[in-house]
Symmetry: C2
Subunit: 206 residues, 2 copies
């Protein structure tokens, strides 16, 4: 399918490259059309890759990934344009890197509220980007969380995640449950510091 | 050893009963000496159990467990009296059940700051009380987090936790890392809601 990836950082690169490898056509979107990171990615992406503005990528994609930094995600989606999000699945993988924000409204909820006609699905935000696209690198199964208001959208995203290699996925409920996974960021950060590697995740043992 | 358990709720009962079963002498402390929950527990505790005020239990114990509700833990420890905490390990298992509190200073840090001569160790606060004292009930290994400034205190607590049945324990660092585990509470709550059971925990797969 045609997928727009908003954001040109490590997360955007990892997601976009994985999607291209899986056979999808991907446009990476950024604030300005001459973004250097996007051009670098394009050089590795082959014939199924393209780059453009946030609005270009959002218009191109039948499904979108928000891989921008959490603090600027609302601005990025506004630049993408509500009309280009209308009815589309927006997979929000971003975190707001300020622990003061946890507990109040999550970024996932904010995006859904700002773009009520988009179908926001929060997922992948609890793991590093290398784990996102290659979950089987870890020595045991581990859990990925999914939040969103639209069941059909979550089912579609789950299909994509299965193609990424995810096997243990836990639908937490509506988009308000994004608070739970965004609030995990301080523990994730402590684990990163303690373990000295980004190659980890948690498994819900039940 | 002689251990004081502050708090008479489900957590206090579970911890105190486990400690008695392991051969320790336990005094359960509460705000008032005639606490009904404490009396009920005493009826099940046998010869190694006793009850008293917070101050009685803190004076009695060589090591203390804070099993009070997080919102009243500071008041409970003040009632216990700084002199009765002096130099002692205080195992803080409490959470503040208000997500607004995550991200700022954790309860563990607050207790350590209020009682600088106590040796606060934050642990067990990421699982339900039945899992705290019987971790092997789950079908796979799973992880317990430990935070605290005093290495010797953490080693002592680790011994106790091993006796509880814990095998995978992860020392996150100083007491400031209690923010990470206290901040996990919203995800824990979502998992409880989603799984319909309190018998779960997370395993750090690395």
């Amino acid at each position: 399918m045609k997928i727009g990836v908003l954001g040109t950082g490590m997360v955007g690169h990892a997601i976009a490259s994985k999607l291209v490898a899986l056979g999808h056509h991907v446009m990476m979107g950024s604030r300005t059309v001459d973004n250097v990171n996007a051009a670098t990615w394009l050089g590795t992406a082959g014939a199924r890759g393209a780059v453009g503005t946030f609005a270009d990528a959002a218009a191109f994609g039948e499904l979108l990934f928000n891989c921008t930094q959490g603090a600027s995600s609302l601005a990025a989606l506004r630049a993408a344009g509500a009309v280009n999000l209308d009815g589309k699945i927006v997979v929000d993988v971003a975190n707001v890197l300020s622990p003061e924000n946890t507990g109040s409204e999550s970024l996932g909820e904010q995006l859904q509220k700002a773009f009520p006609r988009a179908r926001v699905v929060k997922t992948l935000n609890t793991v590093n980007c290398e784990v996102m696209v290659n979950p089987s690198q870890l020595p045991d199964s581990h859990t990925l969380f999914i939040s969103g208001n639209d069941g059909a959208a979550k089912a579609k995203v789950r299909e994509l995640l299965e193609a990424f290699g995810w096997t243990d996925m836990l639908d937490l409920g509506d988009i308000a449950t994004a608070r739970a996974t965004e609030g995990y960021l301080p523990l994730w950060s402590s684990l990163w510091w303690r373990l000295g590697t980004l190659a980890f995740n948690i498994k819900v043992v039940r």
